[in-house]
């Protein structure tokens, strides 16, 4: 990796200094959450929308690793649950919506609505 080219994409006079600092490793690249392949797999999914199973697998991987580190990002359980819902795995979907709600109280109203929606959909499909 040739780092100096970063300077060309960053505007502002203070950036060369930052560049020097990152080169020196003054700050370790620490993040609160484990994102793993989330961004890359979402990008690939948008590029190849038929590859939903691949996206599902990638999300499962991010969650497994994130749980082992105790660093699952906000929204990830819900994102995964939504894909499971699209794949017709309603029971699993609800379980992940519950997990999101339990982990992030901010999501509780939204997740409650989703859980109701999945159950409506399931009972509608069972008729």
């Amino acid at each position: 990796m040739k780092v100096p080219t970063h300077a060309e994409v960053l505007p502002g006079a203070w950036l060369p200094l930052l560049l020097a600092l990152s080169l020196l490793g003054a700050c370790a690249p620490q993040t609160m959450y484990h994102w793993g392949k989330y961004e890359r797999s979402l990008y690939s999914y948008y590029k190849h929308p038929d590859e939903i199973v691949r996206f599902e697998e990638a999300l499962a991987g991010v969650i497994t690793k994130g749980e082992s580190l105790g660093k699952v990002p906000p929204g990830l359980y819900a994102e995964y649950g939504y894909i499971l819902m699209q794949l017709g795995e309603d029971g699993q979907a609800v379980a992940y919506f519950e997990k999101e709600k339990l982990t992030w109280p901010e999501s509780s109203g939204f997740m409650d609505r989703m859980i109701v929606a999945v159950r409506d959909q399931s009972s509608g499909g069972a008729q």
Partner: protein, 235 residues
């Protein structure tokens, strides 16, 4: 591949780290030069103190029809790492789609308080892609991204924060192999690869990080961040 990767290999991360360093630097320098810094007005933001952010599908003013979807993969991380509960972007996009709101303009022009009520969210982040393009030339290709960001309060609908970010990527103009002909060939190769596969994602990530994290201009730390309500000197 090695040429395309040249300088583009995961630049998002080091730049993000750099920005965090900027935050730290700013703390130490703020005491010396407070009057020189033009801080944004954060009073509306502080009054609202949102915990959660809904990122809605982005408006596209570029000619690249895929840009809005690709962009969505670059924004959650930086906002979440800033300390906010970020709604799952793909799920939100899918649900809005199902409701006939696949057109981002409709969502952006709609009532933010209604949207916030439906999702139970504290704030909504509206992003517009102003530029997402590559200008081709024989020896160098310039890739440009530009975004505008607008955060609105979910309860009152008023503006909490806004930003605009422009980033330009130009592959190495100066090579120094000592052999001018080899340098020229190398430049042409880089330009050709950039032309074939302009890599917007790291640029978008850097733009987002700059917009969100930069002291005096970005978003104050959220409830899951260690600096929550401790960063009034910078935000």
């Amino acid at each position: 591949m090695s040429v395309r990767g040249h300088g583009q290999h995961e630049p998002g991360r080091p730049a993000f780290v750099g920005l965090l360093c900027a935050a730290l630097l700013a703390i130490s320098s703020a005491a010396c030069t407070p009057t020189l810094i033009d801080k944004k007005d954060y009073s509306a933001f502080r009054a609202s103190h949102p915990r959660s952010v809904l990122i809605v599908p982005v408006i596209n003013r570029s000619v690249d029809v895929d840009a809005p979807d690709y962009f969505l993969s670059t924004i959650s991380r930086v906002v979440a790492e800033r300390g906010y509960y970020v709604y799952p972007v793909n799920m939100v996009r899918g649900l809005l789609d199902d409701d006939g709101l696949s057109e981002a303009t409709l969502v952006h022009e709609g009532d933010p308080t209604r949207l916030a009520e439906i999702f139970g969210v504290d704030s909504i982040l509206y992003i517009t892609i102003e530029r997402w393009d590559a200008r081709y030339a024989v020896l160098s290709t310039t890739v440009t991204v530009e975004f505008s960001y607008l955060l609105k309060d979910g309860e009152k609908g008023n503006e909490l924060w806004r930003a605009q970010e422009l980033l330009v990527y130009q592959p190495n103009q100066t090579s120094n192999s000592g052999n001018p002909l080899a340098d020229l060939v190398a430049q042409a190769l880089v330009a050709a690869f950039t032309k074939a596969l302009p890599n917007y994602i790291p640029l978008a990530q850097q733009a987002n990080a700059a917009a969100v994290v930069r002291p005096y201009k970005g978003i104050p730390a959220g409830p899951y961040h260690g600096d929550y309500q401790q960063d009034q000197d910078r935000f």
